[in-house]
């Protein structure tokens, strides 16, 4: 799906609002607007809670006395093809959300641990995308010339690549390569996902940044810095970069949920995390075979995934509105 992350060209400001609030930096202004958005604040605290839960998963599961890796054959019914014994996916005091068919592993702890992997991959990838995309975007926009052309064609090419298909198809060969380089099967898959997400993710941001840099380059303060003989690096980092935070933050908040969902989709297609480590996408992929008989197994990770993606989207929207109020839904 094409992204709607391009920051639209500045439209004429609504009458009289300009100059209405003066003396506040963009960051302060944005934070003020964000704080006023109740849904966004709720989403933000929810996300904080989810991140904390994921971070503290081992602690929490220890307290609850569950464990994502231990088989519990007593919770399964061998005569029913190893389906969880009892209704609601075998939910009980020992296993509040039920157990996984075939193994009897505890679903609650797998859910908590699964969040770690999904969030780790998405966050690492998005940081890489931000770094690569910004760097290349700045270079293309600031240097221009043949470098800009080469980068432009490369982004064209990468954007034309059917990337889900490519990620899927490259997975076996590249994970083998990574394993040959000494990574464990599991970390090679995590590294692979982060790398390909970064590889296919940077062009969008690079384009965005390039456009911004092109217009910034013409601005007075940059011209002034150039005239004063400031070194290029200093101009880029001191003068240009600080003005790119808004589009980068907007892009990051919008990419994160997409990456989380993509990771899950790839796991669903069989690319991703290795047993016995849980991830949400993998739980969903597994649950597919059982969803007619153990529907809770599908609903639990599915709902969790939906909540996180939704919260990110709500929060991301609000951040975008706050940083760029003209497109926002809150301007009356």
């Amino acid at each position: 799906m094409s992204t709607d992350t391009t920051v639209p060209p500045a439209a004429a400001p609504p009458p009289s609002v300009s100059g209405a609030v003066t003396g506040l930096s963009l960051r302060q202004l944005a934070w003020r607007r964000l704080k006023r958005d109740k849904a966004a604040m709720f989403a933000m605290w929810l996300l904080v809670a989810i991140f904390l839960t994921a971070l503290l998963a081992p602690l929490i599961t220890n307290l609850l006395g569950v464990n994502p890796y231990d088989f519990d054959l007593t919770s399964l019914d061998p005569a029913q093809g190893s389906l969880p014994a009892g209704p609601w996916g075998g939910a009980s005091l020992d296993h509040p959300l039920g157990v996984e068919p075939l193994t009897g592993r505890d679903l609650l702890s797998r859910l908590l641990f699964g969040a770690r992997v999904s969030l780790f991959i998405a966050c690492t990838a998005v940081i890489m995308i931000a770094i690569i995309g910004t760097t290349i975007g700045i270079i293309a926009g600031y240097k221009g010339g043949w470098l800009d052309t080469v980068i432009g064609r490369t982004t064209d090419l990468l954007l034309a690549f059917p990337f889900i298909l490519a990620i899927l198809a490259l997975s076996p060969v590249l994970t083998q390569r990574l394993q040959a380089m000494g990574l464990s099967p599991e970390s090679s898959r995590v590294v692979y996902l982060v790398l390909v997400f970064a590889f296919f993710g940077w062009p969008y941001l690079a384009r965005l940044i390039r456009g911004q840099v092109l217009s910034l380059r013409e601005r007075e303060f940059v011209e002034a810095a150039v005239a004063n003989g400031a070194p290029t690096r200093r101009i880029l980092f001191r003068e240009v970069l600080p003005n790119l935070w808004a589009p980068i933050i907007v892009y990051v908040t919008i990419s994160l949920p997409t990456l989380i969902a993509t990771e899950a989709a790839l796991a669903y297609l069989g690319v991703g995390i290795v047993e016995p480590t849980p991830s949400w996408g993998k739980m969903l992929a597994d649950s597919v075979r059982y969803f007619a008989v153990v529907p809770t197994y599908l609903f639990i990770p599915g709902t969790a995934l939906f909540i996180v993606v939704y919260a990110f989207n709500v929060f991301g929207d609000a951040v975008r509105d706050a940083l760029d109020p003209r497109t926002g839904r809150n301007v009356r």
């Binding site: 609504p14 009458p15 009289s16 609002v17 300009s18 100059g19 209405a20 609030v21 003066t22 607007r33 006023r36 809150n330 301007v331 009356r332």
Partner: protein
């Protein structure tokens, strides 16, 4: 004055926003006769554009509260229904804008945009409307109008585009033309041509013109009357002579002294120090007080606590200031002399 053709009485426009109520226009009154030109001047954000859009009914009533009264002849505009206003727009009153490129629809030929304007108000056949359009293009000085009519806006130069805008505004013979910074986006030579054209056509069509601008040079050339706006209010109003030769309000004085005189070779403006106030939290006293060099002339910091009324100086001239007449004249004389000195010294 109350029986002038175009009258605006106590116009107020405010926008409720998240940050509070923005009073963009606060109690503005003026009038203009057919064939006459009133210039509304002020810094950006002073409410001059909102005033004109409120008259045209282009302020979204869902976003804004518009109060007061405004007449074109017998038509009251503020209380009029959307449909009544729509019928007046483009026929009785029309408008040209700052950026002629953005203001013309990029996807339609200029001919069709002109024809559309004719046919929405008058029962005219397409061919007749086209003939009229070609005629109108010729009048605004577009060479080869028969051919140019099939051009797209982007094929025309900036000046030509503004001529097309003027043609579109005048094609239905309106009695009021609002020109919102009509020359700002154009280069200097073209600016003069466009203003000349407007003046010519004003005579031909006997149109009242409200000229919105921050360019006092333009004002000096074409305006009969001048209204100075600051922070949503009229701070001074008078004939061209009143304003240019005996300005009373320190803000007007500031504007005048910030303008390089036409005789002075262009120099950097000396803008008035400070920022216009937030329209949400207006200071309690005179809105210009924080930037006013003469505010300290009054004892007890009166300018900061007392809000001045618009007072008549002569039958044509009124001003909103707490200083008395002599103080105002003294301030104006000192400031303008200093400005002339700067300009002269630089040349």
């Amino acid at each position: 004055m109350s029986d002038a053709y175009v009258r605006v009485e106590d116009l107020k426009v405010s926008f409720p926003t998240e940050d509070g109520l923005v009073r963009a226009v606060d109690g503005v009154s003026f009038s203009v006769e057919r064939g006459q030109t009133i210039a509304i001047v002020g810094e950006s954000g002073s409410g001059k554009s909102v005033t004109s859009q409120a008259l045209m009914g282009l302020v979204n009533k869902r976003n804004a509260r518009v109060e007061g009264r405004a007449f074109i002849g017998d038509n009251e505009l503020i209380s009029a229904s959307d449909e009544q206003l729509r019928k007046l727009r483009g026929a009785e009153m029309s408008m040209i804008f700052q950026d002629p490129f953005a203001s013309l629809h990029p996807f339609y030929r200029i001919g069709s945009q002109l024809v559309e304007t004719v046919r929405v108000h008058r029962q005219v056949s397409k061919d007749d409307a086209r003939t009229e359009a070609i005629d109108m293009l010729a009048r605004v000085g577009i060479p080869n109008p028969e051919r140019r009519i099939d051009d797209y806006p982007h094929q025309l130069s900036g000046g030509m585009r503004q001529r097309v805008m003027i043609a579109m505004a005048l094609i239905n013979g309106p009695s009021l033309l609002i020109a919102d910074e009509p020359t700002t986006a154009l280069d200097v030579t073209v600016q003069a041509q466009i203003m000349e054209l407007l003046a010519e056509l004003q005579v031909q069509y006997n149109t009242a013109i409200i000229l919105i601008t921050h360019d006092l040079g333009v004002v000096a050339d074409v305006a009969d009357e001048v209204a100075v706006m600051y922070a949503g209010r009229l701070v001074e109003r008078g004939t061209l002579n009143d304003i240019f030769y005996s300005p009373e309000m320190p803000y007007t004085v500031g504007l005048l002294s910030s303008v390089p005189r036409l005789d002075a070779v262009s120099e950097r403006l000396t803008p008035i120090k400070g920022q216009p106030p937030s329209l949400i939290n207006l200071p309690p006293g005179c809105v210009f007080q924080p930037r006013c060099a003469a505010a300290s002339w009054l004892p007890d910091n009166a300018c900061a606590s007392e809000r001045p009324e618009l007072l008549s100086v002569t039958s044509t001239h009124s001003v909103r200031c707490l200083l008395d007449k002599t103080q105002r004249d003294q301030f104006a004389a000192e400031s303008l002399a200093a400005a002339a000195g700067r300009a002269g010294g630089a040349s």
